[in-house]
């Protein structure tokens, strides 16, 4: 159950990370994800994190379960951050699975093409705080 919990939390954070432009590109995603796909990734990501709480409480009861979830959340965040920093290709598999679904969201009717924002600092773009 512990491995399942770890998997759920790491996946949740991985989805949340991939919903951010610079990390999506670092994991090998080509184009910019359309807005609905970004939203879907974030909803799924947060849902997985909440699912983790249920799994933790089922495993260890209320008191220990809540503590376990809170601790493993942080550890999962560290794991995803480390993967993105040292070995972004770990997330390549996940990114390529998501890509067709993301592209399938496509353009909303009437939406114009948004120009690609230029990468002027080697992969770093100015994600605005309104992204989340």
């Amino acid at each position: 159950m512990l491995t399942a919990l770890a998997f759920v939390l790491v996946s949740g954070f991985a989805l949340l990370a991939l919903s951010q432009g610079s990390h999506w590109r670092a994991a090998g995603g080509s184009a910019q994800l359309p807005r609905p796909a970004v939203l879907a990734l974030r909803i799924f990501g947060f849902s997985l994190l909440l699912l983790g709480l249920i799994v933790a409480v089922l495993r260890d009861g209320g008191g220990f379960g809540a503590l376990l979830w809170a601790c493993l959340l942080s550890l999962a965040a560290f794991a995803v951050t480390a993967a993105l920093s040292f070995h972004p290709r770990c997330l390549r598999g996940l990114a390529s699975t998501i890509a067709p679904f993301g592209m399938a969201f496509g353009k909303m009717p009437g939406e114009r093409d948004r120009p690609e924002r230029p990468d002027n600092r080697g992969g770093e773009t100015k994600d605005s705080i309104s992204d989340l």
């Binding site: 990390h23 809170a70 942080s74 965040a77 560290f78 989340l132």
Partner: protein, 513 residues
């Protein structure tokens, strides 16, 4: 907010690192005890220990007002006896439950005696001053965490960002932010719960106003201390079966084991027995008690905490982490280290972002703070390793100019710590590199010395369950050694530290990136 974060960090950071470092080690304080006191590396017992047998073998000499037995747990295989000896002095003995023999005096404060109290009150005992220093540091920590979150403008966008390949300042700041934000629940919960533990010290007004100054009533209701008492009768009496009393207590507690046993007025007809519930099986660091009449074994009183106490015990329990949950224990250790990284990188960022400016205008700030940082980060780690090494090197009956073995270990700690500060201020350009190398060497030496002096090397301790504690500490020491070597290597690669180059680090470091 930025001003608050920066100034609180620089002034309180050194104390905070010490508290966080010792706290992180204290997660494994019982394991450190096993490592530093080899005579306690005992196998766990197959069957629970008979309390009646313990009483029969160990009843105190006449005159002791209380006889207390702390039962073994899975992390502490020894039992502890506390009683007054024939001269009325309080003594305590460690017992091997398997063979029922008394263990020799430990000769070392080890984890539970030095490292854990260091975290609690920095060993500043007069007037309880240490509790206040730690409490104020804790409040500063909360202010730091909140102000840090507020000034971190891109807290969501940078949540997963660790940009090492950019400028060094970017990498340090990113590490500081990730260590802080990703582990934010832990940092807030640990700091707040630490303060809540000592609410009796920080909120004396509770006793004055809610209990009309009656300390005894307050402690009795809040913590169960002395919630039942009766005087001696002055005539001799016998004790009923302690094991039967334990069974009744366990029924009341829903199956949880007994943690402590106290016989008050032993040998007297008015003796009564206090059984304390184990804290291993649930989060709250409970103080549940059942009181039994000594002669008949009937229940006299059951201490039930009031709801406010239950909450305080839960919060205290999640900080004390005395429960049996190995995933949580290791999680706390890693997250505690993240806190140490957060504090250290905070200092590093402050230094790096002001280095050029201070060098140009002749301000002493960077020099002072850098010396302080090296001393309080690598310095305290080196001092801890020196404690371990001294523990392995000193013979059991060591004394030096009247200082006993226990104190000699602490002298090693203090002297190495002071040396680290001196080294940092005297050799600023080389301090980090040399201290990282020293850490690596000291940690490796400690592992080696454990092997040489006790024979319980890692391959043996990993295989035998009762030596798991030793394996834990050895593994952590090896981790420190590797980390120190890695850090030293990275520092050595900075062009400014090429041999013969005594140039100003601040001017060359920027071009290196």
């Amino acid at each position: 907010m930025s001003w608050l974060h920066t100034w609180a960090g620089v002034t309180v950071g050194a104390v905070l690192f010490a508290i966080f470092w010792m706290g992180t080690l204290a997660v494994f304080d019982a394991e450190i005890d096993r490592w530093m006191i080899p005579s306690t590396r005992l196998a766990a017992m197959d069957e629970p220990w008979s309390l009646d047998a313990a009483w029969r073998d160990r009843a105190p000499p006449g005159g002791s007002s209380v006889w207390t037995l702390v039962l073994p747990t899975d992390r502490k295989p020894t039992a502890e006896l506390r009683f007054q000896d024939a001269e009325g002095r309080w003594t305590h003995r460690l017992i091997d439950p398997g063979s029922a023999r008394t263990l020799p005096p430990p000769g070392s404060l080890a984890g539970t005696g030095f490292i854990y109290p260091f975290h609690v009150h920095l060993h500043i005992r007069p007037f309880g001053f240490g509790y206040w220093v730690v409490g104020l540091a804790g409040m500063a920590m909360l202010a730091l965490v909140v102000s840090g979150a507020v000034i971190h403008r891109r807290i969501f966008a940078d949540f997963f960002s660790l940009r090492f390949r950019r400028k060094r300042q970017r990498g340090i700041l990113d590490l500081h932010n990730v260590a802080g934000v990703a582990a934010l629940p832990f940092h807030v919960a640990i700091t707040l719960s630490g303060l809540v533990i000592f609410l009796s010290i920080y909120y004396p007004a509770i006793r004055f106003f809610s209990y009309a100054g009656d300390d005894r009533a307050y402690y009795s209701e809040a913590f169960g201390t002395g919630s039942y008492a009766r005087p001696k009768e002055g005539r001799p009496g016998t004790l009923a079966s302690l094991d039967e009393m334990a069974a009744k207590a366990r029924e009341i507690w829903g199956g949880d084991a007994v943690g402590t046993l106290s016989v008050v007025h032993p040998g007297d007809a008015g003796a009564f027995v206090q059984l304390g519930r184990s804290v291993e099986f649930d989060v709250p660091y409970n103080r549940d008690r059942v009181y039994f009449d000594g002669g008949s074994g009937s229940i006299l009183s059951v201490y039930e905490p009031v709801p406010a106490s239950r909450i305080q015990r839960f919060i205290a329990g999640l900080h004390f982490i005395q429960f049996r949950h190995w995933t949580l224990r290791w999680s706390y250790f890693v997250l505690g280290l993240a806190g140490c990284v957060m504090i250290a990188t905070g200092f590093l960022f402050w230094i790096e972002s002001r280095r050029q400016r201070h060098a140009k205008s002749g301000l002493l700030g960077v020099r002072l703070v850098e010396g302080l940082t090296v001393g309080s980060v690598t310095g305290i780690v080196a001092a801890t390793l020196a404690l371990f090494i001294a523990n392995r090197l000193l013979p059991a009956d060591a004394t030096l100019i009247g200082i006993g073995r226990q104190a000699l270990e602490l002298w090693a700690f203090c002297l190495i710590w002071l040396t680290a500060f001196g080294h940092a201020w005297l050799r600023p350009k080389w301090a980090w590199l040399e201290q990282c190398r020293a850490l690596s060497a000291l940690a490796a030496a400690a592992v080696l010395l454990n092997w040489l002096t006790t024979g319980d090397h890692l391959f043996r301790s990993l295989v035998q369950p009762h030596l798991r504690a030793v394996a834990t500490v050895d593994a952590i020491l090896i981790g420190v050694a590797l980390l120190g070597a890695l850090a030293a290597r990275k520092l050595r690669q900075r062009p400014a530290l090429a041999p013969g180059d005594d140039g100003d680090l601040s001017l060359t470091s920027r071009s290196a990136d």
